[in-house]
């Protein structure tokens, strides 16, 4: 029975891999959920067709990263999966229902004539619900979970509070920013002008919520406070908020200029900064603040087996994902489906 435990820090490697998968999911499904959030606000039906067409070839693969995040968590940290899923039962189910309504809308909308409006709203509210629930799951994470033994021992609605509602709304705006800047990149004409205006409007809200979350996290949790406001950590971490502020300024200027690609790329970087900030704050908890990633790790042999496959297959997956984005490069049209 092979295992790399003796010479590799498997739990740490897997934490990084799962973290990367979830982050890729947030970025990739983030922009197409964001387009769903903005959908009814678009000026014309042709704009909406374009928005949909700009993500139609990608959404399915984007959502697969969520399955990898969920499945990977089950594989590498089964204890965390077994605690978090019951603890987050209601928001997870609601998120899944949202994803169903928006996912089927892609195919149904292309085929619909009479009920097209129905699928427009199915796409919008499904995306909105999924984004909101993902944000609320983050909010519940910040507050931690009540554990006894090896299982969740809290109530069904522990995840629901003013704070998680706030983080839910924050993520909706965050995804809307990704969606709007994606549209700046992938469309032109009226759609692009509208996307530019929407992006700068949304940008202000994203900045506002990022500040709130950054201030509130250390206030809620003493551990986070000690981490960020102790010497010399304070100075090591200081570049992050400074850099983030710089990114906001640059996106703001680019949205007023002619740059088409940069707002999207810089918005991705804003998400990266936020994600790193959260990751640093939660370290080393995988179920805050009861189970560390080492305690939740699967057996060495299990983590080893999947690691072999991942090392070989993940680069392949990334290559053909990149190939697909390259293949469908350029501006989206409002015409036709396939």
């Amino acid at each position: 029975m092979f295992s790399f435990e003796s010479f590799l820090d498997l739990p740490l490697i897997w934490l990084c891999l799962i973290g990367a998968a979830i982050f890729l999911y947030v970025l990739l499904d983030g922009f197409d959920l964001g387009i769903g959030v903005l959908f009814p606000l678009a000026p014309t039906d042709q704009c909406r067709d374009r928005m949909m067409n700009s993500i139609a070839p990608f959404w399915d693969a984007n959502e697969t990263w969520l399955v990898l995040g969920g499945g990977g968590l089950f594989a590498a940290f089964p204890l965390a999966y077994a605690i978090l899923m019951p603890a987050l039962y209601i928001p997870v189910i609601l998120m899944l229902l949202g994803l169903i309504f928006r996912g089927v809308a892609f195919e149904f909308r292309f085929k619909a004539t009479r009920y097209r409006r129905l699928w427009d709203y199915s796409f919008h509210f499904g995306s909105l619900l999924a984004a909101l629930m993902q944000g609320m799951i983050l909010g519940a994470f910040v507050r931690g979970f009540h554990i006894e033994g090896r299982s969740f021992a809290g109530g069904s609605f522990d995840w629901l509070n003013a704070y998680s509602v706030m983080t839910g709304i924050a993520l909706v705006f965050g995804y809307a920013l990704l969606g709007a800047t994606w549209l700046v990149m992938k469309t032109d004409g009226v759609t692009q002008q509208w996307a530019r205006r929407s992006a700068s409007y949304v940008l202000a809200y994203v900045g506002f919520f990022m500040v709130i979350v950054s201030i509130s996290m250390p206030m809620i949790n003493a551990g986070v406070k000690n981490l960020w406001f102790s010497m010399p950590m304070f100075f090591y971490l200081l570049p992050m908020p400074v850099l983030t502020a710089g990114l906001f300024v640059q996106i703001w200027r680019d949205l007023r200029g002619t740059s088409e690609y940069r707002p999207f790329v810089l918005s991705l970087l804003v998400f990266l900064m936020g994600y790193i900030g959260l990751a640093v704050s939660f370290w080393p908890w995988i179920v805050p603040f009861s189970v560390t990633f080492r305690q939740a790790a699967a057996a060495g042999s299990s983590q080893s087996l999947l690691l072999v496959g991942t090392v070989i297959l993940l680069p392949v997956v990334l290559t053909y994902t990149a190939f697909c984005y390259y293949l469908f490069r350029g501006k989206a049209s409002h015409e036709g489906a396939y």
């Binding site: 399955v67 499945g71 619909a112 489906a337």
Partner: protein
């Protein structure tokens, strides 16, 4: 009131509902993807346009079905944790990596190349497009490989040990992946998926033949479907028998429930029909064929077949579900074989495309594959109860600490959502069927768009209208 419901029962019903709903889509898309690959190959090698038209009609149906399969599949990847947290904790070491491999080797492949398959017509060469179709087809079968390996391990676990805190650890991965029931279940299920698709395609082809529309494409559909019915239906009967013998060896209680046998007997009869009564421990109103059960199961008229009473009451599966679902599955299988035989006779009499009664019969057989797949899964999943991991962990020990009210609410939400989505999906598929294959000149786009659809290059768009 809801608080008084049994959370285990609710978790079971909810899981049974979401997984039964989900399996309908893979059962169809596994076969459809492979068939589309064959169609495209025929088209590229013969240049016959009816193959291309048929491909383009069915690829749209594939897209709708695949979309519903994806969204209901994402649900499944979370249901292990939401409904069966204790099981996830205990068996995560084994099942996690198997599901992880499914995502890495199959899901990404399917999802990425489906985009090329649907939207890539003018962006890649015909060869590359053909390659994408094959990749998607391979992806669907690969996905079946891993998930059936995981399911089979839960039915016939091996290559593991029980360690600290009752957790299951893998000892030999090859033994885990290729556990005793896996090869049988895999072959039986993939063949079932191919047959499901064949009968859907055959039914729709028959519909066009009857209504006198799209004759060329209808012949392609109907002819290819009947080839499957003639050759694969009898093969499936043989594979099913082999799977049954494997079950007898590893899960004899399931087979006893399938047969409705309570007493252990030498030369056991076959209960053709009857009503298994769990309380009375006998099968009422049974129509028996003497010694046939022994003959089928042991290939000996006087072979010994173990009855359900050999197990304590609490270790027996709910018999009537297993008993009746097994008969539904086998009955449908027999009808499929008869369909194949009739097709063969009609073909030899050169009346396959003319015999009106047979076309109506094939239209009636359209859902046969779906029903047989569902019935088969009910047999194998209910038949292994009360265990979630056979002989290792009971379903009652596996449930999440969630409580009845959220389970009941989520169940209701899933029923409403799936009912709505399934209704809409069926409506749009029927619409595509009513429309039929495109005529040759508009073969490129789905909405009469003749130029490259969806995404056009930067240059052409600059000159286009400002939308």
């Amino acid at each position: 009131m809801i608080e008084n419901f049994d959370p285990v029962l609710l978790a079971r019903i909810q899981f049974a509902f979401t997984v039964s709903f989900h399996i309908l889509f893979p059962a169809f898309t596994i076969g459809l993807a492979s068939w589309l690959a064959v169609l495209e190959w025929r088209w590229l090698s013969t240049g016959e346009s009816s193959y291309a038209q048929t491909y383009r009609m069915w690829v749209k149906i594939f897209a709708v079905t695949f979309g519903m399969g994806v969204v209901s599949g994402v649900v499944m990847s979370f249901q292990f944790g939401t409904n069966w947290a204790a099981f996830s904790d205990k068996a995560g070491n084994i099942l996690g990596p198997l599901l992880g491999y499914e995502v890495l080797t199959a899901f990404f492949l399917e999802a990425s190349f489906l985009g090329v398959m649907l939207f890539g017509w003018n962006r890649v060469s015909p060869r590359m497009h053909f390659a994408s179709t094959i990749i998607v087809a391979v992806g669907t079968v690969t996905s079946a490989f891993w998930i059936l390996s995981a399911n089979s391990w839960m039915q016939t676990p091996q290559g593991y040990r029980i360690g600290e805190a009752g957790l299951v650890y893998a000892v030999n991965w090859l033994e885990v992946i290729f556990n005793p029931s896996f090869p049988y279940r895999f072959v039986h299920m993939v063949t079932a998926a191919y047959l499901t698709t064949a009968f859907v395609v055959g039914g729709i082809g028959a519909f066009y033949l009857v209504s006198g529309r799209h004759q060329k494409c209808a012949r392609v559909m109907f002819g290819m479907a009947m080839i499957m019915a003639i050759f694969v239906s009898p093969l499936q009967f043989f594979l099913g028998d082999q799977h049954g013998l494997n079950t007898l060896k590893h899960q004899p209680a399931k087979v006893a429930a399938m047969e409705g046998l309570w007493e252990t007997r030498i030369g056991a009869p076959l209960n053709l029909f009857g009503w298994p009564d769990q309380e009375a421990e006998k099968t009422k109103y049974a129509i028996e064929i003497p010694k046939l059960s022994s003959l089928i199961l042991t290939h000996d008229l006087n072979g010994k077949v173990v009855g359900l009473k050999a197990w304590p009451k609490e270790d027996r599966p709910p018999v009537w579900i297993v008993f009746w679902c097994f008969r539904i599955m086998v009955g449908l299988g027999v009808l499929m074989i008869l369909t194949g035989l009739a097709a063969l006779v009609l073909y030899l009499k050169k009346q396959l495309f003319e015999a009106r009664w047979f076309h109506y019969w094939c239209m009636a057989m359209t859902p046969a594959g779906f029903l047989a797949v569902l019935a088969g899964w009910f047999v194998t999943e209910v038949g292994r109860q009360p265990y979630i991991i056979y002989g290792v962990m009971r379903a009652t020990e596996a449930v999440s600490p969630v409580g009845a009210p959220p389970m009941a609410m989520s169940f209701t939400a899933f029923v409403l959502t799936y009912g709505f989505i399934f209704g809409a999906g069926t409506y749009y598929i029927l619409k595509l069927i009513r429309k039929g294959p495109d005529s040759e000149e508009e073969v490129y786009g789905a909405h009469g768009v003749k130029k490259p659809p969806l995404l056009t290059g930067l240059v052409s768009e600059k000159g286009g209208p400002n939308v």
